[in-house]
C-alpha cells in the first residue's frame, strides 16, 4: 500500500513538450513511474522519451491515466486542471508557480466536492521510493523505507530527505504540498493518509511561516495520530509583512509566526528540530 499514487498509477503530463515537462518526465521514467502519455495542444503526434503526445486529454484517455502532472504556464493551469478533471482523472498535480489565487480556489473547491485530489500548485510533487514519482524531486536522494514526509517547500524537502537517507532512514512517501496560500492538500489531509498507510511508521512535517496549517496539524495529531511525528519550521527569522519567496510564507497581522507553530507542535508532543540536519536525531528519540 502507499499514499495517493503507487507503482501501478498511470500518469500523463500536460505540457510535456515544454522544457520542464520534457526533462522531468524523463527523470520520472528513470525512477520507475508509468508515464503513459503527454498532452500539448497543437503538438499531437510527437513523441517525448518515446511517450506519445496528444492534442487533448480526451485523446490521451485511451491510456486510462489515473493522474496528471500539469506543467503549463500559470495563465493556462485552470483550463488544464479542469480538462483533466472533466475527463475523470483522479489525481491532479500542479507544478506551475504563480497560479492566480482565485484560479487555485476554483480548481481546489471543484476537486474537493467531486472526489479529485489536487497536489500543489507550486510544489515539487509526490515520490514513493522504490515505486513511482510524479514531480521534480531529485531521484538520487531517496531510499525506500518507513518514514513519511510532508512539506510546504521544495529544496528544503530535499535537504531533509537527504539527511534522512544519509542517516539510514528510508521514506515511504514524500509529498510537497506547495508554497501557495491555497493548496489542494494541507498537513491534516496527509496526516490522515499517513496514519492509515501500512508502509508508514513515522512522520516528518516540514512547515513554514504563514497561515495556520501547522497549528491545525498539531490539533489533529493530538486526537488522531498514533505514529511518532517530528517537525521543522522555516521562517523563525522572517520579519512581519514580508513575503519570503512563497506566496504563502508571510506573517500578516501577527498571525502565522514560527513561534506559534513551534508552540502548537510542542503542545501536541511533536519535537521541532532547530536545524534541518537535526531531523534524523529528533526522529531517533521518538522512533528508532
Amino acid at each position: 500500500m502507499s499514499v495517493i499514487i503507487d507503482e501501478n498509477t498511470k500518469i500523463i503530463v500536460q505540457g510535456i513538450t515544454g522544457h520542464q515537462g520534457s526533462f522531468h518526465s524523463g527523470e520520472m521514467i528513470k525512477f520507475g513511474a508509468k508515464v503513459v502519455a503527454g498532452v500539448t495542444p497543437g503538438k499531437g503526434g510527437m513523441k517525448v522519451h518515446d511517450v506519445p503526445v496528444y492534442d487533448t486529454v480526451e485523446e490521451a484517455m485511451i491510456h486510462e491515466p489515473d493522474a496528471t502532472m500539469i506543467t503549463v504556464p500559470a495563465p493556462f493551469v485552470k483550463d488544464a486542471a479542469f480538462e483533466a478533471m472533466y475527463n475523470g482523472i483522479r489525481v491532479v498535480y500542479i507544478l506551475t508557480e504563480k497560479v492566480p489565487l482565485h484560479d487555485a480556489l476554483d480548481i481546489v473547491s471543484y476537486a474537493r466536492s467531486h472526489g479529485h485530489v489536487v497536489i500543489g500548485p507550486n510544489g515539487p510533487g509526490i515520490t514513493v521510493p522504490g515505486k513511482t514519482k510524479m514531480g521534480i524531486m531529485p531521484n538520487h536522494i531517496f531510499k525506500k523505507g518507513t518514514v513519511a514526509v510532508a512539506s510546504r517547500s521544495g529544496t528544503l524537502t530535499y535537504e531533509i530527505v537527504n539527511a534522512l537517507t544519509l542517516n539510514g532512514y528510508g521514506q515511504s512517501t514524500v509529498i510537497g504540498l506547495g508554497g501557495d496560500r491555497i493548496t489542494g492538500l494541507n498537513f491534516v489531509d496527509v496526516l490522515e493518509l499517513f496514519e492509515k498507510d501500512e508502509d508508514t511508521e513515522a512522520i516528518v512535517l516540514v512547515g513554514e511561516i504563514g497561515g495556520t496549517a501547522e497549528e491545525e496539524a498539531a490539533e489533529y495529531i493530538k486526537k488522531n495520530v498514533s505514529k511518532p511525528v517530528v517537525a521543522y519550521i522555516a521562517g523563525r527569522s522572517a520579519p512581519p509583512g514580508k513575503r519570503m519567496g512563497h506566496a504563502g510564507a508571510i506573517i500578516t497581522r501577527g498571525k502565522g509566526t514560527a513561534e506559534s507553530k513551534i508552540k502548537a507542535f510542542n503542545e501536541a508532543g511533536v519535537p521541532v528540530a532547530e536545524f534541518p540536519w537535526e531531523i534524523p536525531d529528533a526522529l531517533k528519540k521518538v522512533y528508532k
Binding site: 466536492s113 527569522s237 519567496g245 534541518p276
Partner: protein, 368 residues
C-alpha cells in the same frame, strides 16, 4: 497589490457598492468649489492616518486647499502622501464592519461582518464577528444576506441594502482576483448603508488580466524592487551576512540557521531552480549593493549542476572584484567538480550546510 482608498472606492462604484460622493486630488488646485462640508483624506497604503492628522474637515474651498496642501506634504508611518480624497461629509449614525477574504484553512472565500465597525477588527471580540464560509461553486446568493443581516440586526430595507452590498462586493472580489476587500467602517447615514472607507488587495499573480488597474508601487525598498524585476525573490534584512540560496524554504532555513549561530543575515535571495552561470553571477549584484561583510551561498541542487553554479560564483568574484569572504555550500550533480573549482579560486566550499555556516562563523569572529 494594495489599492489606495480612492482606487478601491472606484471599484466599489463600478460594482454598485454605495460610497460617499467624492474625487481624488493630487494637488490643492484640483479641489473644486463646494457647498457644506468636505472631508480631506490622505491617500496612503497604511492604517492609522486619522491619528496622524491625515484626515481633516473643511467648510470652504480656501480651507480645503490649505488643509490639502498640509496633508500632501505629510509622511505617515514612512509613507509619503501623494494624493488626497475629497468627499462629502456624512452624518454617521452607526459604524459597521464587513470584509471578504480567502480563508486558507477552509480553502474558501470567507465573509466577516461585525456590528462594531470603525475600529481595528483585531480588537473586536470573536463573538462579535459573524463569519460565513462561501462555497465558491454557489457564490453569494440572497440567502447569505439574510443569514448575516439577521445576525447583524438589519431588518426591512437595511437588510436589503446589506444583502446587495454583500453580493456586489463578492462579485468585485471574484472578478478582480482580490485577496481582501474590506469596508471599515460601513456607515449608516440617513437611512443608507455607505462604504466610508475601502481596503482592496489584489492578487499580484493575477495582474496580467487586470490591465485597467494602475500598478501601485509595493511596499518594497528600491533594491528589493530592482532585484525582483531581475527575477530574484529578494528581501532586505538588517544584518551583515549576504545570502544566496535556492528555494524559498531552504533560503528561510538558511537565515534561521545563521541567526541561531549568532550571525545576522543582510538579505533573503532565492536563486530559484537554475542551471545558468549568468543567473548565479547576477544574483551577486544585488547582494553586493546591500553592502554585506561576507557572503554565504547555500545550494542544494536537486538537478542543478554544481559546476555551473561554481562558474557563476567565480565569474562574479572576478567581475565585481569581491574581496570579502565567500563561503559556499554546494550539493547536487557534479558537486565535487564544483567545490574543487571554488577551492582553486580561494573560495571555501562545503558539501553540507552546517560546516559551511560554522566556517563562516569562524571567519567572521576571527576578523573582529
Amino acid at each position: 497589490m494594495n489599492l489606495y482608498e480612492y482606487q478601491g472606492k472606484a471599484l466599489f462604484r463600478k460594482f454598485g457598492v454605495p460610497t460617499p460622493e467624492g474625487y481624488v486630488a493630487f494637488k490643492p488646485e484640483d479641489i473644486k468649489e463646494f457647498e457644506g462640508e468636505r472631508v480631506i483624506k490622505a491617500q496612503v497604503l497604511t492604517g492609522g492616518r486619522g491619528k496622524s492628522g491625515g484626515v481633516k474637515f473643511a467648510s470652504s474651498l480656501e480651507e480645503a486647499r490649505k488643509l490639502a496642501k498640509q496633508i500632501l506634504a505629510m509622511e505617515i508611518k514612512g509613507h509619503k502622501v501623494h494624493a488626497v480624497l475629497v468627499e462629502e461629509k456624512l452624518k454617521i449614525e452607526k459604524e459597521f464592519y464587513v470584509s471578504i477574504l480567502i480563508d486558507r484553512s477552509t480553502r474558501s472565500p470567507l465573509i466577516m461582518a461585525s456590528p462594531e465597525g470603525g475600529v481595528e477588527i483585531e480588537s473586536v471580540p470573536d463573538e462579535k464577528i459573524y463569519k460565513f464560509v462561501v462555497n465558491p461553486e454557489i457564490g453569494v446568493k440572497p440567502f447569505v444576506g439574510r443569514v448575516l443581516s439577521k445576525k447583524m440586526g438589519f431588518t426591512g430595507d437595511l437588510a436589503k441594502q446589506f444583502t446587495n452590498i454583500l453580493m456586489n462586493l463578492y462579485k468585485l472580489f471574484r472578478e478582480y482576483d482580490a485577496e481582501l476587500v474590506e469596508i471599515n467602517p460601513l456607515v449608516l447615514s440617513e437611512g443608507k448603508l455607505i462604504a466610508a472607507d475601502s481596503k482592496v488587495v489584489i492578487d499580484t499573480d493575477s495582474l496580467y488580466r487586470h490591465k485597467d488597474l494602475e500598478e501601485n508601487a509595493e511596499e518594497k525598498t528600491p533594491l528589493e524592487l530592482e532585484a525582483n524585476k531581475a527575477g530574484y525573490a529578494f528581501v532586505e534584512l538588517d544584518g551583515n551576512v549576504g545570502v544566496i540560496a535556492n528555494g524559498a524554504g531552504l533560503t528561510m532555513a538558511t537565515l534561521d540557521t545563521l541567526l541561531l549561530y549568532g550571525l545576522k543575515p543582510r538579505n533573503f535571495l532565492d536563486l530559484g531552480g537554475t542551471d545558468s552561470v549568468d543567473i548565479t553571477k547576477n544574483a551577486f549584484t544585488y547582494v553586493l549593493k546591500a553592502n554585506p561583510d561576507a557572503i554565504l551561498v547555500n545550494i542544494f541542487g536537486g538537478v542543478t549542476k554544481c559546476d555551473t553554479v561554481a562558474q557563476g560564483i567565480i565569474a562574479a568574484k572576478d567581475a565585481f572584484n569581491i574581496n570579502m569572504p565567500i563561503v559556499v555550500r554546494l550539493s547536487g550533480v557534479h558537486e565535487e567538480e564544483g567545490r574543487k573549482m571554488l577551492e582553486e579560486n580561494g573560495i571555501h566550499a562545503f558539501a553540507d550546510m552546517r560546516h559551511a555556516i560554522e566556517k563562516l562563523k569562524e571567519i567572521m569572529e576571527g576578523s573582529q
